[in-house]
Amino acid sequence: MNEEQKKAFEAELRAYVGKAIGPPVVARDPVNLPMIRQWCDAMGETHPAYSDEGAGETLHGQVVAPPTMLQAWIMEGWAMHEGYDEPRDEQHRLHKLLTEAGYTGVLGTNTEEHYDRYLKLGDVVTAVTTIDEISEEKATGAGIGYFVTTRTVFEDQEGESLGWMSFRVLKFKPPAGQQAAASGDEAAISTAPTRMKPPAGHDNAWWWQKIADEDVLPIQRCADCQKLRHPPRPMCDACGSQRFDSVAASGRGTVHTFTVIHYPQVPGYDYPLVSIIVDLEEGERMVSTLVDCKPEDCRIGLPVAVVIHEDEDGFKIPFFRPAG
């Protein structure tokens, strides 16, 4: 997305703020004893106020529902799982908009509930959910994304307030190579430990993405004074520009220095591990791993060439091997 596309996209997102996701949802059943009993069994809740045997003795004088059941009365059951491909309400449409823009991951982050009164048998709950807030784009540990907060207001049959609930999810772009895992495609999730992945931040995600998409070794270049820099960072220290593009490195270089790592042996890496600092032909230096070479054959000055390695989980990373 260029700047203009991004603006248009965010304007489209913002249009959802304040919208009700659909018409009011009326509980399928009035507040009733069997559902309360089932809930309490599942939760291990034994307070007498929620049972017809002890409720008379409590200050309520009758059976009441546990306050935390509030949302349960209006849940629509299995139907909730549908709708994200064929949107049925505004929330589905918003999620689809984000998914199609690459924010494929979804993560529930927090919820808050507030209760006005205890529900009695026979109360009928009605709920209206609105899209309350969409955050600025945030860089998080899971990836870059937007926090979307909905607010659900609950009322009884008289239109009196019963309470409210806010629910926040993060819709995010999973870092390169982790799309499958984040989308919940279980077949693609490897259980074997893998190398530590870089977090996908504003200043570095593009570099890994370019490797994943184009199988090249990119070097960041100042879009104003053309100075190359590695590792990627937001500002050019020569001219102060924050505009950048990148060039594809030739992939040729020489070993500036190296170490052979024996200990500790961390799952996800092969040992002995030959770690190198490479002087790239273009003049920049980068840290990498030497492959296809016995540790004892590594030396300072060894000519090397890049090879884009792909882990079993699809993560791509630039390694080097002896050249020629």
Binding site: M196, P231, P264
Partner: protein, 389 residues
Amino acid sequence: MPTTLRNEAAIAGIGQTKYSKNSGVSELSLATEAVRAAILDAGLQPSDVDGLVTFTMDSSDEVEVARNVGIGEMTMFSQINYGGGAAVGLVHQAVMAVATGSAKNVVVYRALNGRSGQRMGQGVSGQIITSDLIHWSWYMPFGLLTPASWIALQAQLYMHQYGATSEHLAHVAITQRAHAQNNPNAAMCGRPMTMDDYMASRLICEPLRLFDCCQEDDGGCALLITSPERAKDGPHPPAIIRGVTQASFTGQEQMTSFYRPDLASLPEMELAAKIVYEQAGLGPDDIDATCFYDAFTPEVLMQLEAFGFCGRGEAKDFVTEDSLSVNGRLPNNTHGGLLSEAYIHGVNNIAEGARLIRGSSPNQPAKVDHVLVTSGVGVPTGALILGKP
């Protein structure tokens, strides 16, 4: 208002806990024990203390320590970043505060369950993306996960360029291990080391062997810093601070300044050297003993060059069997250092510097007028020169 930090403050109190592999207590407990001991060692009461400084890495906040120890009103509190690079920076903060009157009596401290708690070099992860997290991500995916691996890259080049060998590194390790034999609080007391032991130790990250690397320990260490006038009234001879500075250099990264022209040198240490020598009006010939930061042995060789004890590439000739020992030209880490006393992130090396000036080191050389102490190597760092009153 002073225009230089020379002679404006002194270390008047030293406090430390037992150093161990499993303290069995909280880091806050270690911190409070060390801080209280430093205050009492200076002949003061907790209510006399009005400033506290620690590492950003430390888990015991200043106010928590103050509440426990009985420190009341404080007018200065601060934390310094960059791991072991912070050690001298703590003293720098305290000296600035004392010199300007921002505080009268400042305690600097570091306490960690470095072995039994969160250990170093186990990779970096986190939930919030910071510039620091992205910095480490240029190394972690490639398997460069530990301080030893980062330093090894530099050590390999240094040794290749100047012909230094494992034997030269061994002299550093063996000398400090010998010092630890006279220090009952040293983790390696009772475990002397020979050249054969050293050579038989396993490779960690080539060229580094196990005995080139410091240990991991639990413990706390604190220092009380006050004005030279107030320090005169204390029970021990004060260690006057002749010069103190922090130092970071062009292209500085935390442990991975791999993109500078010359990887076989320590430009931030050269900067620190220039400033402390200037402040103190001293040069390398005036320094009688050193407490060089020694998380890894090659760091000591490179610092000998950065601080002008020998020319570039000549440390291998400077370091002999006894040059760094009590009777040698430059007794170094006479308590055992991070390698053989304990890894209290370099604050214990400053404590030894103050003991050398007091005359109470477990290995006290005959003449010590000036001691040079440094903090973390490969990180934004600092240097300190201590002198007799």
